[in-house]
């Protein structure tokens, strides 16, 4: 009896260790994955004819601490902060709230960055490797608490302007039609 409890504890730690492996994995040599190119041009929930369900695309970077922090670095270096600030918004809409004009799914955010959106969002098509756009998309979702807290950044390397992403309350996404 006692032995089996001990065994369970050891097993739990081993499993815990495996879980953290994935969280801390650092992929440096990423060839631009063309398979990630996805067609998400559907900008409305209305569909003609037979309803095609929305694709369920998972962004693996949302569970990886390194990718999320790379997304955070790129968010500043590619000047997303110029309009969205550090999530609070300014010239562009806020990203830390529950309101999503063009969708909150990873592939929708990817499409928003790649294609650009009316009223100011530029297209980064061809200007960033796809994997970096996926990293930014993962970080954008962490701003409203939509990624696992165990992977989200706990602090800034630089000055902190808001509470860290891993203690952000989850904001249940809500679709809106215009910036509010």
């Amino acid at each position: 009896m006692k032995l089996s409890i001990k065994l369970l504890v050891v097993l739990a730690f081993v499993l815990f260790g495996f879980a953290s492996c994935e969280r801390e994995e650092r992929g440096f040599r990423v060839k631009t994955p063309d398979a990630n190119r996805i067609n998400t041009k559907r900008l409305t929930t209305l569909q003609a004819g037979e309803v095609i369900p929305e694709p369920d695309i998972k962004n693996e970077y949302e569970e990886n601490a390194f990718a999320l922090s790379e997304g955070k670095r790129l968010f500043s270096q590619m000047n997303c902060v110029g309009c969205h600030a550090h999530g609070g918004g300014g010239m562009g809409p806020a990203l830390m709230d529950d309101k999503w004009i063009y969708g909150s799914r990873p592939d929708q955010i990817f499409a928003t960055i790649e294609e650009g959106r009316p009223n100011g969002m530029p297209s980064f098509n061809g200007k960033l490797p796809d994997y970096q756009v996926w990293q930014i998309a993962a970080y954008v979702r962490s701003l409203s608490g939509l990624v696992p807290k165990s992977a989200a950044p706990g602090r800034d390397d630089d000055m902190q302007s808001r509470e860290p992403e891993n203690s952000t309350e989850k904001q249940e996404p809500k679709r809106v039609n215009a910036p509010q």
Binding site: Q77, M78, L128, P129, Q132, D158
Partner: protein
């Protein structure tokens, strides 16, 4: 100073330790082969400490060995320890007192010399018209900006600090990511670059030459490949380099170079790199305006030749894993043209 220093050097060569260290000195990245005012002070202090501590070490060892081989004095039949010889006791106590006094005096002298050196290091900060250069430590390269009241006269480059010989240099050391440390051992000691807290470093090069320096504070994956060069040259050579560096990048001439520029401007390169005279104005990575004139790329990791450039552009992660530059998938023709264009940026 140099003469004393070299005398001391000769003296302490007796100690095996110094032979070891002398063998390590590569000249162009060595703290014991000074080429600047402060490094000379530091090097003098180093040799001085080495000479004195070596002498103390030898003295202690000689006394220790002598003690091993000293024949024991015949002990009288009655218990000698209970009735010590007063004359002998007195002699022993004065020997101990003298040894303590010599030790304290030596330590005190070393402290004074060290203190004096510390003060001497600061003399250049009184200089009236130093050449001001802003050095930004990045993961994992150095951005070098020559300050000038007229913005169009400023020069931005990377990993290569050209300086005129004999003129005091004032470095403004800045970091925006993590703590780095600027260390050009032939000129001065280390100085940390701390985020949100600019520091300054004054130095002067007294002999022309090419010197290496590197980051001396662990700063991430490629800390070891974060090197820079200090190129100390006569004033007229420096002026020539400076005015050439102020020019925008030369226009491409051949068709291949023109095609290369199109690729550069239309792909991911422009998000991070600047080439003056073109729309590329990213500030994340090194400024490439005159990159072809540099002897090394990748922060001193690779000689700047055609093959290395092509490998670097296609797969930088194989050369410096973890750096910010992504892998690029260009066709052989595109890569060829891109390298042609970059090699034309003299």
């Amino acid at each position: 100073m140099t003469r004393i220093s070299s005398n001391l050097k000769a003296a302490s060569l007796l100690a095996p330790a110094s032979v070891f260290f002398a063998a390590c000195g590569h000249g162009n990245q060595s703290a014991v082969e000074p080429s600047g005012l402060q490094a000379e002070h530091l090097s003098f202090l180093w040799w001085m400490f080495l000479a004195i501590t070596a002498a103390v070490y030898v003295a202690v060892m000689v006394i220790l060995v002598a003690a091993f081989f000293r024949t024991r004095r015949a002990v009288a039949e009655d218990d000698a320890e209970l009735s010590p010889d007063p004359l002998r006791e007195k002699r022993a106590s004065s020997v101990v007192k003298a040894a303590v006094a010599v030790t304290v005096l030596t330590m005190f002298a070393l402290m004074l010399v060290s203190f004096r050196t510390g003060r001497a290091l600061d003399t250049l900060s009184q200089a009236q018209t130093p050449l001001e250069i802003k050095v930004t430590g990045q993961q994992w390269w150095w951005q070098i900006e020559y300050k000038d009241p007229t913005p169009s006269n400023m020069v931005t480059t990377a990993n290569e600090i050209h300086i005129p010989v004999g003129r005091p240099i004032k470095l403004e050391l800045v970091s925006h990511d993590v703590i780095h440390s600027f260390w050009a051992p032939n000129f001065h000691g280390k100085k940390d670059l701390i985020p949100n807290y600019p520091t300054t470093l004054f130095f002067r090069a007294d002999e022309p030459g090419v010197y290496w320096g590197q980051c001396a504070e662990f700063c991430g994956f490629e800390h070891a490949k974060m090197r820079f060069m200090v190129i100390a040259e006569p004033q007229e050579d420096f002026d020539r380099w400076y005015s050439a560096s102020q020019q925008p990048a030369p226009e491409p001439v051949t068709d291949s170079q023109k095609f290369g520029r199109d690729i550069f401007l239309k792909s991911v390169c422009t998000q991070c790199h600047t080439i003056q005279g073109t729309p590329a104005n990213g500030r994340v990575g090194p400024n490439l305006t005159h990159v072809a004139g540099k002897p090394y790329i990748a922060s001193g990791s690779l000689p700047n030749d055609r093959e290395n450039l092509a490998n670097w552009i296609a797969d930088p992660q194989a050369i410096k894993p973890g750096i910010r530059m992504p892998m690029n998938t260009y066709s052989p023709e595109e890569l060829n043209a891109l390298v042609d264009y970059i090699q034309s940026l003299k």
